[in-house]
Symmetry: C2
Subunit: 83 residues, 2 copies
């Protein structure tokens, strides 16, 4: 899971909220891509974890249909902390 990759080893993560916008009907295969979070948000997450505090991260996921059209967009708000 992308939040755990961002948080590093020895962390656990939970989702706080998720929002999906459905833009186009999907009748076929699709692909979901997590967009890389901005470097400053990633750095803030890692600073919080290094201080033993929970860190927050917002991730965006794009869902594209077989013709590479943006069919849905997901935004997830996560909290990570050291195990």
């Amino acid at each position: 899971m992308a939040v755990l990759l961002a948080a590093g080893d020895g962390c656990d993560a939970v989702i706080q909220s998720g929002e999906t916008e459905f833009l186009l009907p999907i009748h076929d295969d699709f692909q979901a891509h997590v967009l890389p979070p901005p470097p400053d948000e990633l750095a803030r997450l890692q600073r919080a974890l290094a201080r033993g505090r929970p860190g927050r991260l917002v991730l965006q996921v794009e869902v594209r249909d077989g013709e590479d059209r943006l069919a849905a967009r997901f935004t997830g708000r996560y909290v990570a902390q050291r195990d």
Copy 2:
């Protein structure tokens, strides 16, 4: 589906967006309840459909754990129209 019940026979509905807030971890059985939409919102949906226009409806769903605690809340925005 609750939107189709609200819209009546001969209608189709799609979801535009959905947001879920995760409030408590769920480790066991849970129940999801659609909250009845406010009567004025239901009336507005049905007026739009009666005029041959698409109608919108926001529905709230509560997810409760085995001890009847509110564990998650879902808000869905739907559009219904006559087939």
